[in-house]
Point group: C2
Chain length 103, copies 2
């Protein structure tokens, strides 16, 4: 009678999301490292906006919103509902190609 076994380990989405949850903290560290590369651009842009629009602009909120939007658009690297493929490797290559158009 192990109650934690109630989780359905045969649900594909659940299984994958368990792994996703385990990897998330490490992934988040990597993502933050990536954003640090771009932070000076976001900082500068937000400062410009503040200068042009007014002091009631909350630059940190603008920057966080831009970061969330960047993550949202990055999902296009992993498009939904493609036809059946032989393997994930092809999906990754396709995503890389799609990346070129992604603006």
């Amino acid at each position: 009678r192990r109650s934690h076994m109630a989780v359905s380990y045969t649900d594909p989405q659940v299984s994958m999301d368990l792994l996703r949850a385990v990897l998330q903290p490490s992934f988040n560290d990597d993502i933050m490292a990536v954003f640090k590369k771009y932070q000076k651009f976001f900082d500068k842009a937000a400062e410009n906006v503040k200068e042009n629009v007014g002091d009631d602009i909350q630059t940190d909120q603008l920057i966080r919103e831009a970061c969330r939007n960047t993550l949202e658009h990055a999902k296009q690297l992993f498009p939904e509902g493609e036809a059946k493929r032989a393997g994930s490797d092809i999906a990754i290559k396709r995503a890389r190609a799609a990346d070129e158009d992604c603006i």
Copy 2:
């Protein structure tokens, strides 16, 4: 009469999103490099699912969905609607701290 000037450069969200769009391709490359680190785990998990559940499982779709979910959860690094802060640097530090709980 330059029609492209019709875009409102004074809208803070628009200004920030123009920058976001410029940075997106480079950011996407960095994101793909990060995902490559984790790809073997996702591949293995999807193969296990296929083995346990059946051959009609499309592993590449499972993997892409997991990747999109990872990006979605990474948005918690940049939370919405916080109180006014002195600067973006604090936001980044807060996001790092939040990261620890993020599962």
